[in-house]
């Protein structure tokens, strides 16, 4: 993208952030504090109406032709507000994978149809990778989805197909975040599946990791704000606990780690917007963003709960709306250690040396 296009996209992203923040604040007010955190159909319908549910799709396929800058703005706001939504899965993964495969991607299942006026479950797609025949995988949001777009990388050449959720037998679970997920053995070698390039298969993993990093950055900043609010209002020993240096140190470490995550995530998103997902710099920054976000999450979550005291560990406190998702997201699309290790591989095997990568 040209600099002008980037500037335009950044402006759109800023506007979307405001719009999304309003929607998600309303949605958050409606949310019940339950262990399982299912989809709020009302907010999803709003996202469908406003086009936010399928931001990055081509206009031909009902999308808004937006890029990662815009999508990250919305994704980050949802995480910041603590509203559980399959935006990454539906738009940036399933939608993208369906578009990348091109028609006819659908072997035996319907593609998403818009929610009907009667308010039935809107057609949500999720996405997953089948890495080996017969091996079960965890699929986020599957219990809430109408279909799964599957990247079948079990064979010599990666393939893509879409299958109705109703055609799958799966074990429904609630992730540590409270979001619905399922463990399922996805079919491989499906007739009618569309072959895709190795680049597409590779990109799937990077997209997932970047999306999760964006969500963790949004939640991390929200957690940091909650910490500040708590320590400036909670009074013990006759003064706000934020007046104690020991507490200040905990809070500043949360703020620091959240800021560090924000910086590298923004860098990764901007680099992807500028140079695309296939660019080596994008790959490195995504790896760094996911690794950094995962590492920072340890300090952020631990300190935030220490700061909030016992009340912060309860279901009724809004802290868990951010800390539980962070703990769920950091393990998905590659663990923290896997991405840290991936970075080491990039340093050891890549064309660029360490410092060249850092300053890419």
């Amino acid at each position: 993208m040209t600099n002008e296009q980037i500037t335009d996209a950044a402006e759109v992203a800023a506007e979307l952030r405001t719009v999304a923040a309003d929607i998600f604040t309303d949605a958050a007010d409606r949310l019940a504090d339950t262990v399982a955190r299912p989809l709020d159909a009302q907010v999803w319908a709003t996202l469908e109406e406003t086009g936010l549910a399928r931001l990055t799709g081509s206009e031909d396929s009902g999308g808004s032709d937006a890029g990662w800058l815009e999508a990250a703005a919305v994704l980050g706001e949802a995480a910041s507000a603590g509203v559980p939504l399959p935006l990454l899965e539906h738009d940036l993964l399933a939608g993208w994978l369906r578009d990348a495969a091109g028609p006819p991607a659908s072997a035996e299942a319907p593609t998403g149809s818009p929610a009907d006026a009667a308010g039935s479950t809107p057609a949500i797609s999720t996405a997953a990778e089948a890495v080996a025949t017969g091996r079960p995988v965890t699929v986020p949001w599957l219990p809430a989805a109408a279909s799964v777009v599957v990247l079948d990388s079990s064979g010599e050449r990666p393939q893509v197909y879409e299958i109705a959720a109703s055609d799958l037998v799966f074990d429904e679970r609630t992730s540590v975040s409270g979001e619905p997920q399922a463990v399922v053995v996805l079919p491989t070698g499906v007739a009618g599946a569309v072959e895709v390039s190795a680049e597409v298969a590779d990109e799937f993993r990077y997209r997932g990791a970047l999306g999760r990093a964006v969500q963790m950055a949004g939640a991390g900043e929200a957690i940091s704000q909650l910490c500040v609010e708590h320590v400036t209002t909670r009074v013990q020993f006759g003064r706000p606990i934020g007046k104690f240096q020991a507490v200040q140190q905990l809070v500043t470490d949360v703020a620091s780690e959240a800021a560090l995550t924000r910086t590298i995530v923004d860098r990764a998103v901007l680099t992807v917007a500028e140079h695309g997902m296939q660019d080596a710099r994008s790959r490195f920054f995504i790896a760094a963003a996911k690794a950094c976000a995962g590492g920072a999450a340890e300090t952020i979550v631990r300190n935030a709960h220490q700061i909030h005291g016992a009340i912060g560990t309860t279901l009724e406190h809004s802290l868990q709306r951010r800390t539980r998702p962070v703990m769920g997201w950091r393990r998905e699309f590659g663990s923290t250690a896997e991405w840290e290790t991936r970075i080491e591989e990039l340093v050891l095997d890549g064309d660029a040396d360490l410092w060249e990568l850092v300053t890419a």
Binding site: R17, E129, V131, R135, P136, F204, R205, G208, E221, V228, V231, T232, P240, G242, Q245, Q248, Q249, V251, T252, D253, A255, S256, E257, A259, L260, R262, T263, I264, D266, R267, L270, F284, F285, A287, A288, A289, A291, C292, G295, F333, G334, S335, T336, A337, E338, W339, E340, T341, R342, I343, E344, E345, V347, L348, D349, L354, W355, L357, V358, T359
Partner: protein
């Protein structure tokens, strides 16, 4: 993204990028030619007047000094790129460090025309080296408590007291001394302080080494015994000292020296890992230790790290290959973690530099960079030590670097404001105090 602690992300422009690459290739040539040996914490521990002059001849010292004062009129972002390259490469830069980082900007901002003419050209040419004269035996983090006193005399001042932790004081030409020139008013502790430009060879100045625990001599105690300072060597106006020393803190705190002090060690650790993988596959590594077997969706290449034997890479030149150890534990991603965080810090520090270039206040972000960065550069030393252990027999250079980094590490989070004080700065901006 309102209310963010760190300024907006910036991307280096092409001109600065080109400069960065020019410096990089120069440094690689110099290191290959043996002009210097890449080292850790070189901005404190590697003083080399010849090398500083060599850099100055290329226009890489005093870069932001305007051309009318012998400088190069470059931006802070250009200086940022150059200093990053110098530090990442572990080049010896202590001789220019203080003069380039804070003396020149202070002179430009507060100095008289005569002072600028007298000092700036020589700083830019690498001929004049400076130290810092702020801390005292009884004044560490609490700088306003300095006890060195100045008394008015005919034509100038007489100053008496002890300054400590003056890096390179034994080889520097001068320093700026923060001195109490009016009696302490407990209600206005920051008033009545002045900065003097002190010739460290002047009568009444004596310099004693403060030897570090590994025998290194970088710090000094400077005793000022009734040293005469003429009026024209007062920086700016008497009484302005506090404002002067605090106004440059963001520059001092957010720079790349706050996260790159051990970068040469990180490079060396990767070289060691690369050599170990090529030369001596780890035997009996349990199959299935790699992340790919955990059902992850990461690329296959990432899956090879659990066992270091899996991937044969092209060996780099055999710098350490002959000394490769017989076995090295899997890193568990520990080095990659540092790479990720250093990359984030590079961008954080860059956005602070950009913000400062635009004349914005970035004190909080600078404090944040320093807390995160100095912790990180110290942790790199710990991680490498934890991974390689006693490596003296296999790779003496790596061992020496680890030893140097471990010894320097405690200082990282102390100098330029302890991390505890800096967290207080961040806490204040968050509205906690």
């Amino acid at each position: 993204m309102g209310g963010q602690l760190v300024p907006q992300l910036v991307t280096e422009d092409e001109q600065t990028r080109a400069l960065r690459l020019e410096v990089r290739s120069f440094l690689r040539r110099e290191a290959a030619a043996g002009t210097f040996t890449p080292w850790v914490d070189t901005w404190l521990t590697r003083w080399d007047n010849d090398f500083t002059k060599k850099l100055a001849a290329r226009g890489w010292v005093g870069m932001t000094i305007p051309t009318e004062y012998g400088g190069h009129g470059r931006t802070f972002l250009e200086r940022f790129a150059v200093t990053e390259e110098l530090l990442a490469m572990g080049a010896p830069v202590a001789a220019q460090w203080v003069a380039d980082r804070q003396i020149a900007p202070s002179l430009l901002r507060f100095g008289t025309e005569e002072q600028k003419q007298a000092f700036l050209p020589k700083i830019a040419s690498g001929d004049l080296c400076f130290g810092i004269g702020m801390s005292e035996p009884e004044s560490g983090s609490d700088l306003a408590s300095v006890q060195t006193k100045g008394r008015r005399v005919e034509g100038g001042w007489r100053i008496t007291g002890r300054k400590t932790w003056t890096s390179g004081g034994h080889v520097a030409d001068g320093f700026f001394a923060l001195v109490r020139t009016e009696p302490l008013d407990p209600a206005h502790r920051h008033a009545g302080l002045s900065q003097f430009i002190v010739d460290l060879r002047a009568d009444g100045v004596s310099i004693d080494p403060i030897v570090s625990m590994n025998g290194g001599h970088h710090f000094n105690e400077v005793t000022l015994d009734d040293v005469f300072i003429p009026d024209d060597r007062v920086l700016g106006e008497p009484g302005e000292g506090w404002h002067q020393v605090t106004s440059e803190l963001a520059f001092e705190r957010s720079g790349p020296e706050r996260f790159l002090s051990t970068f040469a060690l990180l490079e060396e650790a990767f070289d060691h890992l690369r050599a170990a993988r090529t030369q001596a596959p780890l035997e009996n590594a349990p199959a299935g230790q790699g992340p790919a077997d955990s059902g992850s969706s990461l690329p296959a290449r990432a899956a090879t790290v659990g066992s270091l034997s899996s991937t044969a890479t092209t060996a780099s030149t055999a710098t350490t290959a002959s000394a490769a150890p017989s076995a090295l534990p899997a890193t568990g991603g520990a080095l990659g973690r540092h790479v990720a965080r250093v990359t984030a810090l590079h961008h954080m520090s860059l956005s602070v530099a950009s913000s400062l270039q635009a004349g914005e206040n970035a004190d909080t972000a600078a404090a944040l960079v320093k807390v995160l960065g100095t912790t990180e550069e110290g942790d790199i030393a710990e991680t490498v030590d934890r991974l390689v252990g006693d490596v003296a027999a296999d790779n003496p250079r790596l061992q020496d670097l680890v030893d140097a980094a471990i010894a320097q590490r405690p200082g990282f989070t102390l100098r330029g404001g302890t991390n505890e004080v800096l967290r207080g700065v961040v806490a204040r901006s968050l509205g906690l105090r």
